[in-house]
Amino acid sequence: MKCRMCGAKASVNLRQHHMALCKDHFLEWVPAQTERFIKKYAMFIRDEKILVAVSGGKDSLSLWDILQRLGYQADGLYICLGIDEGIQYSAESQRLAESFAAGRGLRLHVVDIQKEYKDAIPVLTLKNRRGKGKDCSICGLVKRHEMNRIARDFGYDVLATGHNLDDEAATLFGNTLNWAGEYLLRQGPVLARKPGLARKVKPLCRLYERDMLAYALLRNIEYIYDECPLSVGAASIQYKELLNRLENQRPGAKLSFYLSFLEARQNGLFIERQAIQAELHPCPICGQPTSAEGLCSFCRMVTPSLK
């Protein structure tokens, strides 16, 4: 297999694009594609301050690396969830995020959930009825809240996450399987800023997970390889495996699924019903917007822990 650009031996086969690239051209192609999507979806401009949510995994660290290479002002945020499960998962993730930042002279904010709210994720999931078999949803709620808080408190214009095409296709698949109309309306490369909520963007949303792994390996980015021990059996992982089977038979199927969805929505397939658009109220504890009057979901969850 030869590189389409130079004819040298290819390192990465991008079957969805009918193209293979050598190491050097692949490492040029990924940032160029990312820049293209940043502009296409009007994610941010060079003057804006970006906060990158980093987990210590391949996607978020690669995103931070790419934004730096492209010359954007991007700081990092690591949220320590306190997940140990015998492999010191959070401690190791934090070490890798800190090592990445220190090695490149980048600013990294660190939030420790247990220090801030008394309980770490494994305890919060046990204490909350919502957490029965839903560790990932509790974790997602906590991360979204804290990302917003830090973005607001430190004056960041935009919050960037390392969601890749496989993440987006799996989410879309799950939402379609459940006909989750409200979620389908919101899913996209950019979630617009609202009062109290930072703009959220996903610059890697059109890059395959396998290609992001190749990027991390070729850039020698040290990342946490272990799967989150609390995500074993998660539906999103099952959906990714299913979609990869389809991709194997029909290269480009995942990309087409996601892009066709974005196009269909833009063409009016989903019409936002004004009547059901919830009015947002500030939470009396944290000030972040919530659809119901009173405490937001996050504060309802952590308040018993603070007593």
């Binding site: 297999m1 293979a20 190491k23 792994l213 190749a214 390889y225 089977r245 194997n248």
Partner: protein
């Protein structure tokens, strides 16, 4: 023989086949992994040689 290693699992296949054939033989989708040999990434058309140890790195993450 060629050894393929995915996390804690080891598989053996005959030398002379391509990486793609080897993956098909052991039931692993190429879409979900990146393969390396002595630290270098290899693609599906690579012919595996006797004594090769191929490390398969899984791409899927999330929850």
């Amino acid at each position: 023989m060629v050894k393929l290693v995915l996390r804690n699992q080891e598989y053996e296949v005959h030398a002379g086949m391509t990486l793609l054939s080897a993956l098909q033989k052991i039931g692993i989708l190429p879409e979900g992994i990146v393969a390396t040999r002595t630290g270098e990434m290899i693609e599906e058309d690579e012919i595996l040689k006797d004594g090769d140890v191929i490390k398969l790195i899984t791409a899927i993450s999330g929850g």
